[in-house]
């Protein structure tokens, strides 16, 4: 029974949402956008400074599907994913690679929400993720010297 408000993958089999007292309302409000999901199985992928790039081909396909769905509105397409405007905003932003934290800042959404949205997009291969290299093996002395030169030149 999928529909525009389906919570998509990952909703089933999770523990029921915990409700805190009423005055804690704002705790969950931003998550209305994600159908209440506060976590995504792919969230680990999205380091603060991981770079996200829109997969142009897949995104073009999504746009075409969207047009088709508009022409044939009712009933059909029950299995079709209905992206939120925020999903589309991310795809538009990431034509050039952008870090997770910059996406969150740009959309003015909490990081947790953005990670769920990114998970949705990655599930459908609409984005690619470039994770930062593990710090232990990354910064060679040469690279660090370049960092110092670069800061000096600012």
């Amino acid at each position: 029974m999928a529909g525009p408000h389906s919570t998509g993958s990952g909703a089933a089999g999770r523990r029921p949402p915990v409700w805190h007292d009423e005055s804690n309302g704002p705790v969950v409000r931003p998550y209305a956008l994600t159908g209440g999901r506060t976590d995504h199985q792919l969230a680990e992928q999205f380091d603060l400074v991981a770079l996200i790039v829109t997969d142009e081909q897949a995104a073009a396909g999504l746009a075409a599907d969207g047009d088709a769905a508009e022409q044939v509105p009712a009933g059909s397409g029950a299995s079709q994913w209905a992206p939120e405007p925020e999903h589309e905003m991310i795809l538009a932003l990431c034509h050039t690679p952008l870090s997770v934290v910059e996406i969150a800042s740009e959309l003015e959404l909490p990081l947790g929400v953005v990670r769920v949205l990114l998970g949705d997009l990655l599930d459908r291969s609409l984005i690619q993720v470039r994770r930062p290299a593990p710090v232990a093996q990354f910064p060679s002395e040469r690279v660090l010297k370049e960092v110092i030169d670069g800061i000096r030149a600012l």
């Binding site: 770079l51 930062p132 910064p139 660090l144 800061i151 000096r152």
Partner: protein, 204 residues
Amino acid sequence: MESVRSDAGPPPGDSALTVKILVAGGFGVGKTTLVSAVSEIRPLRTEEALTEKSIGIDDTTAVQDKTTTTVAMDFGRITLPNGLVLFVFGTPGQDRFWFMWDELAKGALGAVVLVDTRRLADCFASVDYFERRGVPFIIGVNRFEGAARHSPEQVRDALDLPSYVPVIDCDVRDRESAKQVLITLVEHIMRSMSSRRDPGALTH
């Protein structure tokens, strides 16, 4: 049809050429000022909302205003000529946001702990945290009007820091001074890396 894709992006590859540096210290010590002084962009702000994941470790009973349920971080970006992108994050000041610190510290190159000598104790938590996590850090003693001057050595003694941790004076409003803080940190990171490869090179 013209491509709108910019070719200014980093070179393709499995890993992103992005690194993080953290700026920590007590409330009002100049973290955001330091970030602004070096960033190529107007500092951005991002927020994380407290979810059930973080509520477990967050003592909200101590918080008067329950609507304060987000934690804000300011950050700036420096793109280096070699394509490397350096992110400078100001860490949230309050203890109740430790969950955010773990996220920030993961994979961080190193940290600057800013100190106001009038409120020295404000930096203890940051120093403890980076020592425990093994994140290389330096101390930046920010100059404040009306604050009695303390020499870096006095600050080092007061914080009981080993001799290999750099302690420098700075004025984070001044871009050159802020740059020097970051350069001192990266030089320190280089030294701690070579001592990790050759532990004998460092005397504790």
